[in-house]
Amino acid sequence: MAWAFLTPALLLALYFKFIPMFEGMRLSLFDVQPFLGDIWVGLDNYAKVLTDERFLSALWHTVVLGCGQTIAAVLLGFGLALLLEGQARTLWFLRTAVFLPVVTAVAVVGELWRLLYQPTENGPINSLLSFVGLGPVPFLDSPHTALASIMVVGTWIGAPFNMLIILAGLTGVDRTLYEAAYIDGASVWQRLRYVALPALRPAITIVVTLAAIRSLRVFTEVYVITGGGPAGSTEVWMTRVFSLGFVSNDIGVGAAASVLLLAATLLLTLSVQYVSRRRARR
């Protein structure tokens, strides 16, 4: 019985996860030529990826974007959680509204922000900036500001999600500890630092891990908002893989780059697990 019930899940996993995974590893070792037959090239594809300048700059952009938006989204999410904690009806309404970016499809978010980032003087954000006397910013049109603009979008999506997990963590903090701290004369800051933060450690670990993994594989936002431009200034690992695999049909090299991304993701996940296990044991 058990196997009969598991068959659909196992079949789908086999066909659409595991076979593609092994096929990807196989392809990464070949020079793939449709209709002409594949040629074994060993690790040449990997060497190509690691020496390709565009891949190296894509790696740099991915790391900058990942670190920037992970840190910003965790801090902002934490701030939002502290601000919107409570049972009042108004707070519930605010949490619902703030959470909207998370449930919206990323492609739609991308189009939204392309509107907001209109580089003209009367673009939505630029007209707000002109209120406080700041000149029109080119945002997505300039190689200097495009990556930062995408980072803002990533933070905007990530912060409310982090807020919800941190709020769930805050619910788990024993309120008697707050009372004890209050009676002992601890300030609000001390209560936050020595009572709430240690209790939130698991929640924050999860939030940071998820955000870091998500930003390694970032694709849709960048593809929709800038497509990697202007002048390659926002090209990330996955947009590079996409243009190799589906535009210039350099499938072997694209597959090799994908395998490297998988390795990085697994390494990150396992090392976080390892560190948090060790800390828990102490």
Partner: protein
């Protein structure tokens, strides 16, 4: 959204030092500088996270959207943008999206329920292996397998069929989602076994047991995997992009970029498409919100 609800575990045992200990920062409910500061910060948060949506909706209904400006209300309301978007095939894309979302979600929920019942109620040889396999698929970013998946889709191994260009090319790959299998499994494990044992004595088979006894008890968990599954399928971007034969197979979120890069139409048209793509996710979100909070909280504690 009740995750912020703070329960006072102390009850009345300790003298409550006022409501100020309900929240970590000790926000005071009484009028004063604290309350004003909180109200100001809340308004800023509301503005930052909700205003972009309102501006988009306003601009989508605005005739004069060539000059996209900041506003909460269309200056000259019109449905023109939606009409032009319809001419460009928006409703066909929406139908693609809805078929894929409906089919994908139905398949995903069935697959998850069956797999979860087996995992929660049976012990069998190779169980650990199966669990490990599902866990692995969770750690495997779908972007990583995009290139080989597109070759698999155009020539399924063993069967030798090509799914490319059909809705099945998107529905089948999203049919197995380890997250919803695990949520379902955890929930079923919590259900009391006694009911099933009694039903077993009445001679109920495995399939009828699952459908008539277990499933009705699983409604909260079905809500959780329903909302997360829908949002997950609706958010698919790379998969419909690589599974399509031509633009006619695109889903609405993917087709937005066609509207955006169409220089014969103004920016208002892509916003009209965005608003239409927004409606299903928002509907599902507002209807099943409490399930969503429960799901995220459960996922967070499980890690």
């Amino acid at each position: 959204m009740s995750a912020g609800g703070t329960t006072t575990t102390s009850g009345g045992r300790v003298r409550r030092g006022s409501a100020r200990l309900d929240t970590t920062l000790g926000w005071s409910p009484r009028f004063g500088p604290g309350l004003i500061a909180r109200a100001v910060l809340c308004s800023i948060a509301l503005f930052v996270f909700a205003a972009p949506f309102i501006t988009t909706v306003a601009a989508a209904f605005d005739d004069n959207s060539r000059a996209t400006e900041f506003g909460f209300w269309p200056r000259s309301p019109t449905l023109l943008n939606f009409e032009v978007a319809a001419e460009k095939g928006m409703w066909e894309y929406l139908v693609n999206s809805l078929v894929i979302a409906g089919g994908g979600l139905a398949l995903q929920m069935c697959v998850s329920v069956f797999a979860a019942y087996a995992l929660a109620r049976r012990r069998f040889r190779g169980q650990a292996f199966v669990l490990l396999g599902f866990l692995l698929t969770m750690m495997l970013p779908e972007e990583v397998i995009a290139i080989p998946l597109s070759t698999v889709l155009s020539d399924l191994p063993v069967v030798g069929l090509s799914l490319r260009g059909t809705v099945l090319a998107v529905i089948l790959p999203v049919g197995m989602w380890a997250f919803s299998i695990f949520v379902m499994t955890e929930f079923m494990k919590e259900l009391p076994v006694e009911i099933e044992e009694a039903a077993r004595l009445d001679g109920l088979g495995d399939l009828r047991m699952l459908l008539f006894i277990v499933l009705p008890l699983c409604r909260p968990a079905l809500g959780v995997i329903g909302i997360f599954g829908f949002l997950m399928v609706w958010d698919q971007y790379l998969l419909p992009l690589i599974a399509a034969n031509d633009q006619g197979d695109f889903t609405l979120p993917v087709a937005l970029s066609i509207l955006a890069n169409d220089f014969t139409v103004g920016p208002g048209v892509v916003l009209a498409g965005s608003v239409v793509a927004l409606v299903p996710s928002l509907t599902v979100y507002f209807c099943l919100q409490s399930s969503m909070v429960r799901g995220i909280a459960a996922g967070a504690t499980k890690g």
